[in-house]
């Protein structure tokens, strides 16, 4: 059964790992304006991660703060979905990852804003506004890439095909959680269908549906991501920064 702690930790880890991946784009984006936009989204995700991890630490009551949770857990203890830990790939893969994540985070945070837990409601109320921008931004790029040149169309369709299997994990039912992700499916499907349609892209058939992130079973990529993220913090146990 998913406790409020598990749920909050999972959302915090989603946001943290998404921020880490988006941060990798800094100085590498296709346009200077996009460098700024991706950094903005990374900062939003990081901001949400800090609030969620701090709260998760309080719920747990074992004295772990945001940094203890971010830097001192191993990959088997992370609860993020697999979608966010996938490597950035080309710009189309990054856009597809961001698009599906934002299409899910927006209704999730919106529902959270109305939940009974006051702290989570406040975090949801703040984060949903940011998610709306992320979804706008990613949708615009889906349309530009899908309905741009032949090359961009091909890359965008490849990206959607590659990322789509990882979307299903986002809806694993958790009836006891403050918001049951299974209830978001119809909303997300509608958003995805509308944008892909405008982008002249095809939604892949659902076949393979990898999962396990919420139970700490990740892809091979997460351990490398954490090794880099945690290296300095772990090299100086107990230090303050």
């Amino acid at each position: 059964m998913t406790t409020v702690f598990d749920f909050t930790l999972g959302l915090g880890d989603d946001a943290l790992i998404a921020a880490q991946r988006l941060g990798e784009w800094t100085t590498r984006a296709p346009e200077m304006e996009e460098d700024i936009a991706l950094a903005n989204i990374a900062l939003d995700q990081l901001g949400a991660a800090r609030l969620l991890l701090t709260y998760a630490g309080e719920l747990e009551g074992a004295g772990r703060d945001e940094d203890a949770l971010a830097y001192l857990r191993d990959d088997r203890e992370f609860r993020n979905c697999l979608l966010v830990e996938l490597p950035n790939g080309d710009f189309a893969v990054t856009v597809a990852k961001l698009f599906f994540l934002a299409a899910w985070q927006l209704p999730l945070y919106t529902a959270l804003a109305g939940c009974a837990d006051e702290r989570l409601a406040a975090i949801g109320a703040k984060a949903r506004k940011e998610s709306a921008y992320h979804l706008d931004h990613a949708s615009l790029w889906m349309r530009r890439l899908g309905d741009g040149t032949d090359e961009s169309h091909r890359r965008a369709q490849d990206a959607v095909d590659q990322v789509w299997p990882y979307v299903h994990e986002l809806f694993v039912a958790a009836p006891a959680a403050p918001v049951d992700p299974a209830t978001l499916r119809a909303d997300v499907d509608a958003t995805v269908a509308a944008v892909l349609d405008e982008a002249t892209l095809t939604r892949p058939e659902t076949g393979w549906t990898p999962g396990g992130g919420r139970d700490g079973l990740h892809t091979e990529h997460l351990s490398y991501l954490l090794a880099e993220m945690q290296v300095l913090h772990r090299a100086h146990p107990g230090a303050t920064w």
Binding site: G23, E24, P30, D35, D147, T149, A239, T240
Partner: protein, 354 residues
């Protein structure tokens, strides 16, 4: 100046300089409010008009006539500055993924993002002189225009992020504060905005070093090592000594530049000494001492031969920095083409629908 305690924000480094930025901003408003002498009369010599505006400490605006050499000098200087912001994202960006706390990660991400923003408004200022951003980016990518040499040094440890903030941003501010009074309006206005954000960055860098210098032995050593490596390259940021500086005299006459390289370097040294003491870090110069007569610190000059080597392309990271930027630009080409194609299709559909 600094007290011995951790100073409140208004006394933090950059405080005095920030005051100068604000004064420059006020002067800018005053100059704009002062009845600007009207446009030149039809029979008036445009060159005399240009000189009048400069002499009256007013601003040359994009619509005004200006000598070709003035335009060229400004394009070169503003473009180099813009390129420096863009290339300068790399050494610090190098630590975003490994920042040692989530708070520091957020601050660093925001800082590097600010630098991209500075690059954008500086390119926009250069564009008012009749050259496009795409042209300027090409000049950077094929090496015909330079960026500040300081960014050709590597960031080897986390403390380097602090040292860049304190010393490199500090030197940049000392250099840039007088540019807030530059005779070319769009550049002066861009610099006011840039300086305000830079002083914020400098404070953050100082805070990183302060935390390290008051942390574990390993953290202290890391901080001192970073200051040891960044001190002289930061002094070299002010350029060659006055005797060897090629562009200075004309730029001073045009009020693009207001102080000489050596004057600014001295100002920077004098500013850093007290701050280093509060940090508890040593400036790596055995000959650094107060000169009562000059009312300034005597100090050891940076190695200008090294500066020339780095400018010519042989610093530790010149190749990496350029390759990185060229690769990002090349890898993004299909994305920019897609955006252009999409915009063209939209415009076409709109035209058909109308």
């Amino acid at each position: 100046m600094y007290g011995n305690d951790f100073a409140p924000p208004e006394d933090a480094p950059g405080g005095g300089l920030l005051g100068e930025v604000e004064a420059a901003e006020a002067a800018l408003r005053e100059a704009a409010a002062r009845a600007r002498r009207g446009a030149p009369a039809p029979d008036e010599d445009v060159e005399a008009y240009f000189t009048d505006v400069i002499d009256a400490d007013q601003k040359i605006e994009p619509r005004d006539w200006m000598p070709e050499a003035y335009r060229k000098t400004l394009i070169r200087q503003i473009a180099q500055h813009a390129h420096s912001e863009i290339i300068g994202m790399q050494p610090e960006g190098n630590w975003i993924s490994r920042a040692p706390s989530l708070k520091r990660k957020a601050i660093l991400l925001a800082k590097v993002q600010d630098e991209a923003g500075h690059g954008l408004y500086l390119y926009a200022a250069a564009e008012t002189l009749g050259i496009s951003r795409d042209e300027l980016v090409d000049l950077l990518l094929d090496g015909r225009q330079k960026y500040s040499s300081i960014f050709n040094y590597p960031t080897l440890t986390w403390a380097d992020v602090g040292a860049i903030g304190w010393l490199v941003d500090g030197a940049a501010i000392v250099n840039q504060v007088p540019l807030c009074r530059c005779s070319y309006g769009p550049y002066a206005r861009a610099m006011i905005r840039v300086c305000k954000e830079e002083s914020f960055h400098q404070r953050q860098g100082y805070e990183i070093l302060h935390t390290l210098a008051h942390g574990t032995e390993a953290q202290k050593a890391m901080a001192q090592d970073a200051v040891d490596r960044w001190w002289y390259p930061s002094l070299a940021m002010f350029g060659p000594p006055d005797g060897d500086s090629t562009h200075s005299a004309q730029s001073m006459a045009w009020k693009i530049k207001r102080f000489s390289n050596d004057e600014l370097r001295q100002r920077f040294v004098d500013m850093c000494v007290g701050q280093a003491e509060v940090l508890g870090l040593r400036i790596p110069d055995p000959d650094l001492r107060w000169n009562e007569e000059r009312q300034a610190y005597d100090y050891t000059q940076p190695d200008y031969a090294e500066l020339m080597r780095v400018i010519k392309g042989n610093g530790p990271c010149n190749r990496e920095r350029m390759t990185h930027r060229q690769r990002a630009h090349a890898d993004g080409a299909w994305v920019r083409e897609a955006a252009a194609a999409y915009a063209a299709k939209r415009a076409e559909r709109k035209a058909v629908a109308a």
